[in-house]
Subunit: 330 residues, 2 copies
Amino acid sequence: MKRLVNDGFDVVEEMLEGYCKANKNYAELHETDGRVVVSKKMSEESKVRVIIGGGSGHEPLFLGYVGKDFADAAVIGNINTSPSPEHCYNAVKAVDAGKGCLFMYGNYSGDVMNFDMAVEMAEDDGIRVETVRVTDDVYSSKSHLERRGVAGDVFVFKAAAAAAAKGLDLDEVKRAAEKANDNTRSMGVALSSCTHPATGQHIFQMDAGEMEVGMGIHGEPGVRRSKLKPADEVVDEILGYILEDIELKAEEEVSVLVNGLGGLPVMDQYICYRRVAEVLEEKGIKIHQSLVGNYATSMDMVGMSITLIKLDNELKELLDAPCDTPYFKI
Amino acid sequence: MKRLVNDGFDVVEEMLEGYCKANKNYAELHETDGRVVVSKKMSEESKVRVIIGGGSGHEPLFLGYVGKDFADAAVIGNINTSPSPEHCYNAVKAVDAGKGCLFMYGNYSGDVMNFDMAVEMAEDDGIRVETVRVTDDVYSSKSHLERRGVAGDVFVFKAAAAAAAKGLDLDEVKRAAEKANDNTRSMGVALSSCTHPATGQHIFQMDAGEMEVGMGIHGEPGVRRSKLKPADEVVDEILGYILEDIELKAEEEVSVLVNGLGGLPVMDQYICYRRVAEVLEEKGIKIHQSLVGNYATSMDMVGMSITLIKLDNELKELLDAPCDTPYFKI
C-alpha cells in the first residue's frame, strides 16, 4: 500500500470535500447530493448544459473539467464504478436551463445503464437529455461505437462544451460531440497496476519490467504482455495501432494528447511526446495543439496513452475556444 | 524499472526536445545551449529578468514555469544535479535587458557553487546578477537560511516574477523574493523512492507500507521512518512541524500548496488538502489561495509536501498577479 488515505471507504467523499474547498471559485457540491459537482461559473444565459461523469479514480477526470464553458456538472461514482441514476438525474435538475442537457461519459456498461435511466427520469419531468458516449480506445472493439472511452473524453467533452457555450441548440451540441468522437482515437500502455484504496491491493498483478499495450484504464486486457521496451518503440507500436484505425493524410491536422495514467513522471511523458511528434512530422501530419499531462488517470497506475483527434475548421474552432476550469484552461 | 525512457543517459535532452515542441508558444531552447530554456513570452520592455534552475527530475519544476510574467529562463541540470556555471551564465546573456537578472533556486551546494560562478562571469561582462536561494524545507536545518529548497520554490519564484513584471528594479525584485522566502515553510513525506532512469534502480530503499516524514526530494533523511499512517495523521504531523516553525495567528492569511511528489494520485492529494484546510480553519487561519497538484516532483516518488506562505497585502498582490506558463496560469 503506497497511498495517503484514511478509511478506504471514505475516499470519494473526502476527495470531493477537499476538491470543492480547494477549487471553491470553480465548483461546489450539490446542496443535497454529495456526488454531484456543480459549476460556479455556469453561463447565466439559458444554454444547453453539459454533464459528464463516471467512476472515481480517474482524476482530474471528471470533476476537474467543471467550470466556465466546459462541463456544467460532473456526476461522481465510487472507484471504477458508475454513479447511480439518481445522481445523474440530480445533476440534470441542478443545471438544466430549459434548453436540455447533454450527458457525456466513457462507454462502460454500468455508466450506460445508469445514465440511460436518468434520461428517462428527466423525460418524465419534461427535460430533454441527449447522450454521447466516448468510444476512443482503439483496441477495445473492432466496431468504433462499441469501444471503451479513455482519455479522448477530454477532446469530445471540450468540443461539445464549446458548442454549448456558443449557444447552439441540443441537436447541434450533440452533433459536435459525435463529430469529435468520430475523429478521436486513443491507445495506452500500462507498466503497473493501480492500488485500490479500500483493499490496499493492486487491482491486478503485473511484474516489474513488464508492460501491456492496449490495457484499459481499469486493467481491461490489452494486446499482449511483454518485456518493457524503450519509449520510442512503445510509442511507435501504440501510434501504429491508432494510425491504422484512422486515416490521416499529409497536411491534415490533429490535436495530440499524451496522457499520463497517474504514476508516470512528467519527464517520461515528454520523452513519449517527442517521439509522437517525430512520427507525425515524418508523415507530414500537422500538430495543431499538444496536451501533455495527467488528464485521465487510473490512480497510481504507471503508464500512458496517446490520443489523436483529426481536425477540420469546425473542430479546431471548438477546441480552441476559451474555457476555464481547474485542470483545463484556454 | 517502471519508466518509459530510451537510453537513460539521454533523458534530459529528449525531455527538453519534447517539452519545447509541445509548448512551443511558451518556450524554446537557447540557440547554442541545449540546457537553457528561454521564454517566448518575455516582456518586450526592458525589465529585470528572472532566471530559475536546478537539477532535472523535479518537473514541472523548473522549465514548466517559463512563460509570461513568471520565469524568463530556466537552466536545466542532469538528474538531481546542478546545471554548470556556463549554462547559468548563458541564460543571463540570453535574457538580460540591461536591468540585471535575479537567480533563484533551491539551496543545494552544487547549485550554490555553480550559480555563484555564473554571477561572477556576468559581473566580468558588466551584467548585475543577484541571487535568492529558496530555503523552505523546515526539517533540513534549524537555521532558516541554511535549509534546502523544495516546493516553496513556486511561491518565491512567483512573488519575484510579479515584482519584475511590475517593472521594479533589481533591488526591489530581490527584496520581494527574500520576503516571500522568509514567509514560506514546507515539509514532506515520502512513501517510496524514485527510479533513476539511467540505472533503472530506486535511488534508496524503502519497503511497501513504510513512510518517512521530512524526507527531502532527493531522498535526504527525514525525521524518522515509520509504518504508514492514515492521511489525516500524516498531515497533522507535517503541518505541526510547519506551524511550530512559523508563527501564525487567527485571522492571518496564507496560501497553501499540497504538492504531489510524482506518484501520488490526485485523489490522495485532495484528501490531504481537506485535512490541511480543516486544521487551518480550526485555528482561524484564513486560506487566501490553494494549489493542489504535482508542482515540484521527484520523478515517480510517491509522497507529498505541504507548503504554507504567510501573506500580507504586498505578497497577496504579487501572488495574485496574472501570469501564463504551461504549468502555472493566473
